[in-house]
């Protein structure tokens, strides 16, 4: 099975690899795993006061498609509001990277990671906004 040029490009030059401070108030972390292939993905977002994602980072241990899917996800999320980022669909990622059917689950993993990062960020905000007991 051949990888598309876009997958190879993201695999060879992954964008936004790295780590943000997980304990920071304005950082959301999404951790997901795919039991089918044992892939693990961490995706993090840093959100400014206007609710815009100003930075996104990922680290993925998995196949080329999983790395490319998360790399593309961080690229797309940067500069978007949380609401906009939440609308990114795995099908958009799969289409952009021309993933074959057996690799669609890699893009699902990336979508799950986006969700998880946004949820984590939001739960931090709610938690911090709650009045002290």
């Amino acid at each position: 099975m051949a990888y598309s040029d876009k997958v190879i490009d993201h695999y060879e030059n992954p964008r936004n690899v790295g780590k943000l401070d997980q304990n920071s108030h304005n950082v959301g972390t999404g951790m997901v795993g795919a039991p089918a292939c044992g892939d693990v993905m961490r995706l993090q977002i840093q959100v400014n006061d206007d609710g815009v994602i100003e930075d996104a980072r990922f680290k993925t241990y998995g196949c080329g498609s999983a790395i490319a899917s998360s790399s593309l996800a961080t690229e797309w999320m940067k500069g978007k509001t949380l609401e906009e980022a939440a609308t990114i669909k795995n099908s958009d990622i799969a289409e952009e990277l021309a993933l074959p059917p057996v690799k669609i689950h890699c893009s699902v993993l990336a979508e799950d990671a986006i969700r998880a990062a946004i949820d984590d960020y939001r739960s931090k905000q709610n938690h911090d906004a709650a009045p002290a007991a």
């Binding site: 999404g30 951790m31 997901v32 795993g33 039991p35 089918a36 044992g38 693990v40 961490r42 689950h105």
Partner: protein, 183 residues
């Protein structure tokens, strides 16, 4: 000759269990393999030959399923009526995934080391021990008929088995004096 509707334990005349007798399994497998081997039917009708290929494939699949702990666990759950859907991507327990991430980080750092032998041995042992521990947990849940918990363990084992395979590959490269960091 071979009843394709039998379950794998019945096929090898073994009791359904988490820890089937591996020596007995291997012996039954070789005996069955001899009776179904396609070479024995070279002179027979085309239909008979096709059937023997099918039987041989069934016997092989059964053997490998009962031999490997993870495949056996998935199969035991299936016999209990629970199909493990590995394709479904699940946001798993964050702590487990975090630990996985750290283990993978260690493996990738190890590849850059000049003398990775000691660290590789340590990691292999660690992953091996974890796998044993997970399988024991699986067995407990399975015996207690706690299938949902048993399935959660099976999903975790999938990650560990993948890691173990990667480490074994590194080890064989090391033994062949090949560079580890050749990606």
């Amino acid at each position: 000759m071979v009843d394709l509707t039998q379950n794998y334990f019945e096929l090898f005349e073994l009791p359904v269990s988490c820890q089937p007798d591996q020596q007995l399994l291997a012996r039954q497998y070789r005996a069955l393999q001899r009776t179904v081997h396609p070479d024995r039917f070279a002179a027979d009708s085309e239909r008979q030959q096709r059937l023997s290929v099918q039987y041989a494939a069934f016997v092989n699949e059964a053997f490998h399923t009962l031999k490997q702990p993870l495949a056996r666990a998935v199969y035991l759950l299936r016999l209990a009526g629970r199909e493990v859907d590995m394709e479904r991507n699940t946001v798993m327990d964050a702590q487990f995934l975090m630990a996985q991430m750290e283990l993978r980080d260690e493996v990738s750092e190890l590849k850059a080391q000049a003398n990775p032998e000691a660290d590789l041995e340590r990691l292999i042992k660690l992953v091996d021990d974890d796998n044993t521990a997970y399988f024991n947990q699986f067995e407990q849940h399975w015996q207690a008929q706690e299938l949902e918990q048993a399935e959660t363990i099976v999903r975790k084992m999938q990650f560990m088995v993948k890691l173990a395979a990667e480490l074994a590959q590194l080890e064989s490269k090391l033994l062949d004096d090949q560079p580890l960091n050749d990606e």
